[in-house]
């Protein structure tokens, strides 16, 4: 799956949308979902939590392993995707779409990559 060009990316394999009214949507990339294998459990931060760019804010558990979820941005969580918690496998099937993870009111971000830069990063 190619990486949508309208998103920005981190080296920890999250994507985030350009902010609308200061709020960005965050998910993990198809590359990350594929590397993890079948995802069986997703733990997300809660609405109202403050997350910090580059720090862990949740967990993704697959058949074989458990991985930390990092936040690409610093800010307050304003919405989480309950559908993903209820159906973790959707992260494998639609990582850039229905399986977004949470929305954050962005105060600052980590170093972000364009789709082309992220492509180059995962191929390196």
């Amino acid at each position: 799956m190619s990486n949508p060009t309208h998103l920005q990316y981190t080296e920890e394999h999250e994507w985030l949308t350009e902010a609308v009214d200061g709020v960005s949507t965050v998910g993990i990339t198809a590359h990350a979902a594929d590397a993890l294998g079948d995802i069986v459990y997703v733990q997300l931060p809660e609405v109202g939590d403050t997350v910090t760019a580059g720090e862990t804010c949740g967990e993704l558990e697959s058949t074989k392993s458990v991985s930390d979820l990092y936040s690409p941005a610093t800010g307050e969580i304003v919405e989480i995707n309950q559908a993903v918690i209820d159906d973790p496998a959707s992260v494998n099937s639609d990582p850039f779409g229905d399986a977004w993870l949470y929305k954050v009111k962005v105060e600052a971000t980590d170093k972000l990559l364009s789709a082309a830069e992220y492509d180059a990063f995962i191929k390196a």
């Binding site: 294998g37 079948d38 069986v40 459990y41 558990e61 058949t63 074989k64 494998n92």
Partner: protein, 372 residues
């Protein structure tokens, strides 16, 4: 050191497999979704490349006596063309590896060791062969190994061989022609399903893989990787070396004392580890320290290997050896060694999942048993 490649390496890559380093081999972890591969083996069939397994041939007039001396099983009592699950132990009773031994002839056996232990087993057998009229031969490069496992396995094999499959019992083998190639065809496997393991020349592996793929396509056969192999064997309650078995444990610690045969009539009943294993048997009978049990979780978080098992009041009582989400049961399962006082099925305990105590219930193994 660069990893070893099986004869099917190019084929796995052409199928888009995610490859992983396993015991020094580059092996297919999964081709697509490991959950779908798992369910295909349970309901239809899966095709596995197991060429990393270590084949060792033991041949000669005293091959059986040598194996009776070197292993814990009564190997010379095995019928020709039959197979046996057994173990090789140290003098102190610690498990060096678990093995399948196939009797391929009156005076010839094929010992199949785990990839990670193949050299250790080869060295031990070679050393223990001193004084016996038998030869231990490293045949790791002589064989590729392909497994077809699942309820459709029998029909798939039947379409590519004239071998007497109805006469081929579980834990037996035959020299056979499969898809015009000479192989050893064994009714063994490690998934809890009916199935076959095909030992062939590496040069024939790709031809056989393709023939089996074609024969299996109409009934839903899929290529299956090591990831689903692990969840399949876990559901079937089968031990895995390095998880449930190790040099720190005897077969009696692992609840597999039945594989130790003190009644051997060869070598005056002596074998490597006998004294220590007799003591381990007595200890297991009188006062088992820990027992191997199954755990089932009602939660979503997965109890994994090395996590602590705790009692409901939080006291550590054991350790997980393997754990995974079970595709068949739809909930997380694990195998653990727990203190005997907490080992009864139905006991409520908990697992320390990264600091949080997740409730689990002790259950009898296996988690899954196929309908016969």
């Amino acid at each position: 050191m660069s990893p070893r490649l099986t004869a099917l390496d190019a084929l796995h890559r052409s199928l888009g497999a995610t490859m992983t380093d396993f015991a020094g081999w580059d092996m297919p972890l999964r081709y697509g979704s490991e959950r779908e591969e798992h369910l295909a083996v349970r309901t239809k069939a899966g095709l596995f490349d197991l060429s990393h397994m270590g084949e060792i041939t033991v041949t000669g007039p005293q091959a059986g006596e040598l194996l009776d001396h070197a292993l814990v099983g009564f190997i010379s009592a095995l019928g020709v063309l039959r197979a046996r699950y057994t173990m090789i132990c140290r003098e102190d009773g610690g498990i060096l590896d678990d093995l399948i031994v196939y009797r391929t002839g009156e005076t010839e056996y094929m010992v199949v060791a785990n990839a990670s232990n193949a050299q250790v087993v080869l060295d031990a057998l070679t050393e223990r062969a001193a004084g016996f009229d038998a030869v231990v031969r490293d045949d790791r490069d002589a064989y590729a190994l392909i497994a077809v496992q699942g309820p459709e396995a029998n029909g798939i094999l039947a379409s590519v061989t004239d071998a007497d499959l109805p006469g081929l019992k579980y834990y037996a083998l035959l020299p056979a022609t499969v898809a015009d190639r000479e192989v050893w065809l064994a009714r063994t496997g490690y998934t809890g399903e009916d199935g076959f393991e095909v030992f062939c020349a590496p040069a024939d592996a790709e031809h056989l893989w393709n023939a089996l793929t074609e024969a299996g396509a109409p009934v839903g056969l899929v290529p299956a990787g090591l990831s689903c192999r692990d969840t399949l064997r876990l559901e079937a309650g089968m031990p895995l070396y390095g998880h449930e078995l190790s040099t720190d444990l005897t077969p009696f610690d692992a609840g597999l004392g039945r594989v130790v045969r003190f009644d051997k009539t060869t070598n005056d009943g002596e074998f490597v580890g006998r004294k220590a294993l007799e003591a381990a048997a007595a200890q297991a009978e009188a006062n088992p320290p820990r027992k191997l049990v199954g755990l089932v979780s009602e939660g979503k978080r997965v109890p994994r290997a090395e996590y602590d098992v705790v009692s409901v009041d939080g006291t550590p009582i054991g350790r997980i050896t393997s754990g995974a989400p079970s595709p068949t049961l739809g909930k997380p399962i694990a195998i653990a060694y727990v203190d005997a006082a907490h080992a009864a099925p139905g006991t409520a305990v908990a697992v320390d999942v990264r600091g949080k105590h997740e409730p689990v219930e002790v259950v009898a193994l296996p988690f899954y048993k196929r309908a016969r």
